[in-house]
Symmetry: C2
Subunit: 338 residues, 2 copies
């Protein structure tokens, strides 16, 4: 398997990206197509004493930054590492793209260059949150600010396939994010989506468990939570914010007295493990679900370990055959009336 | 000041409700109008050796439960403690209603019986979250699943008045909840609302600081965060869920070994204080902002202490003059085109 790496994307590119990729080559046995400024990449490879068999470099002179408009970035910077990486994927020069660059630019670029799976209305950004036995997929988390019920139906299907093939859920419980658990809750979008998901459940295609509240995201009541990208994004970032806030408050308790400092020292290792287990980055990257070939977004702050985890996820994604499963089921995923 | 108490609302009614009310009478010097089953209330008053001066009981035979449809509950159960309490407020028999009963029923009942302030399109459920120096008001959190930009503009004004008068913010920073901080983020609702809030800022009426992400709720970047009730509700419940999840994970760490148990024992008191400081219930109740007279929702699980806190908040609300301030500014809060 060959992974196309956007070597210039992310806060710690190219050093940590290339190091993470080298680790993936060693531990997972993948080949690498490293895309970016050749001299910078070569310098790191030399410094790391990299064995060059199975490594190709494709030179790309530009870098997409957070200041670039995501909706036009890959079109305007045609020689950027991200645009070139996506072109290579389209041309079947590799099996997946992994990038820690701008989420919006990657999403737009993937949609324009690699294209969506035929029949899929919108690709979704679908992170797996570290909760419950297998994790919880929140789909969509920001790719689509305004959604139709058909988009959400497709998110439900794609999330269900993902949870089955990549999260180890046998019969994934798909819930619709809402303001209450009663069937009639929510606005027009929720009412329409509820009906579509219920029908898919009755046809035996997905396991729709009904509406799920915000509290349900972290209590393990569902494996896949379907929502529009606006709500999902706010919820995801809100929970990130609370976790940070609580960690800070905990730190305050630990440093408030000498006896607390000593007690905290005893707990230090186990608390660090707990913190790590709640870190979204540890899960790996976030799949752009609905694109016709595997594209994985690694966290912008990726270091070697998290970029390695993102490549590991890309490998699992390629092996899962999820894209084929979506293609095979696409007729059920479209509204009958259209 | 006379507080009208729905003595039968909430999981621990009437005992904890009446006890909380008696504490408020003693500590805050308020008079009480206790509404509910007279014999049950009298029994508690006798048991608590209550001094009857300043206490009136109004008998109401029915109780609104969580099973009643919120949108029709106070109309269908006309002799319920909640419906009777709201009627008493409308008839100026007291200064405020405090209820731990169904949020939806209270909101609908207050809107139908007590009515909104003239010109206010929708009342909002606006809890103050325990973050930042003064707390952060999230408005709306579930009263209005579908909103227009005009509703959100009014929430911005009302939240700003509330933060100034009740949270101790001199020049409250009003933010619009969005998927990014850039001005152009979000969908149609956010674009329209951004323009209205910006105009209000330019006219010097509110201090609009622009878009705020989900991470901004708990990092103290705004005092008032404006959003539609769907997003606000999901965010509020999501953060509640994460806090619970983290507390459980912490507990797991504490019980994982004997040495951890001993260390946790040292920290116990300070951790309990931290947990309490993050508890939404400790702030008191949640004001139904936009109703023409003060109505405060206490948490459904209210015990004596939290119901007391909700009455304390009702007293502050009455004294603040916020309803008059909204009335005086109502012309600026309506869209010019209508």
């Amino acid at each position: 398997m060959k992974i196309i790496v956007d070597a210039m994307g992310g806060d710690h590119a190219p050093l940590e990206i290339v190091k993470g990729a080298l680790r993936a080559k060693k531990e997972l046995g993948v080949e690498l197509l490293l895309v970016g400024r050749e001299e910078a990449i070569r310098e790191i490879l030399t410094q790391e004493n990299a064995e060059m068999t199975g490594i190709e470099i494709v030179d790309a002179r530009e870098v997409i930054s957070m200041e670039d408009d995501p909706s036009t970035a890959t079109r305007r910077k045609k020689d950027s590492s991200m645009a070139v990486a996506l072109n290579l994927l389209r041309d079947e020069r590799g099996d997946a793209v992994v990038s820690a660059g701008s989420t919006g630019a990657l999403l737009t670029g993937a949609t324009l260059t690699v294209k969506r799976i035929k029949g899929i209305r919108r690709a979704a950004l679908a992170p797996v949150l570290p909760a419950g036995e297998h994790g919880v997929m929140l789909i969509d988390c920001g790719a689509n600010v305004e959604c139709t019920a058909e988009y959400l139906l497709q998110f439900g299907y794609m999330g269900s396939f993902y949870a089955k093939k990549l999260m180890g859920c046998e019969n994934p419980r798909v819930g619709l994010l809402n303001v209450g658990t009663e069937d009639t809750k929510g606005g027009e979008l929720q009412h329409q989506t509820f009906a579509l998901l219920k029908q898919a459940h009755e046809e035996g295609r997905i396991n729709f468990i009904g509406n799920v509240e915000g509290t349900g995201v972290f209590n393990g009541s569902a494996d896949v939570i379907v929502t529009d990208g606006f709500t999902g994004n706010v919820l995801l970032k809100g929970t990130e914010g609370v976790i940070k806030y609580m960690m800070k408050a905990l730190k305050g308790v630990f440093y408030s007295s000498t006896k607390n400092k000593l007690a905290a020292l005893v707990l230090k290792k186990d608390l660090a493990a707990m913190k790590k287990s709640m870190d979204v980055n540890e899960v790996g990257g976030t799949a752009l679900v609905g694109i016709s070939k595997p594209v994985i977004k690694a966290h912008g702050s990726s270091n070697e370990a998290s970029f390695f985890a993102a490549i590991r996820q890309a490998v699992a994604f390629v092996q899962s055959g999820i894209i084929d499963e979506i293609k095979e089921n696409i007729d059920y995923m479209k509204l009958k009336t259209e």
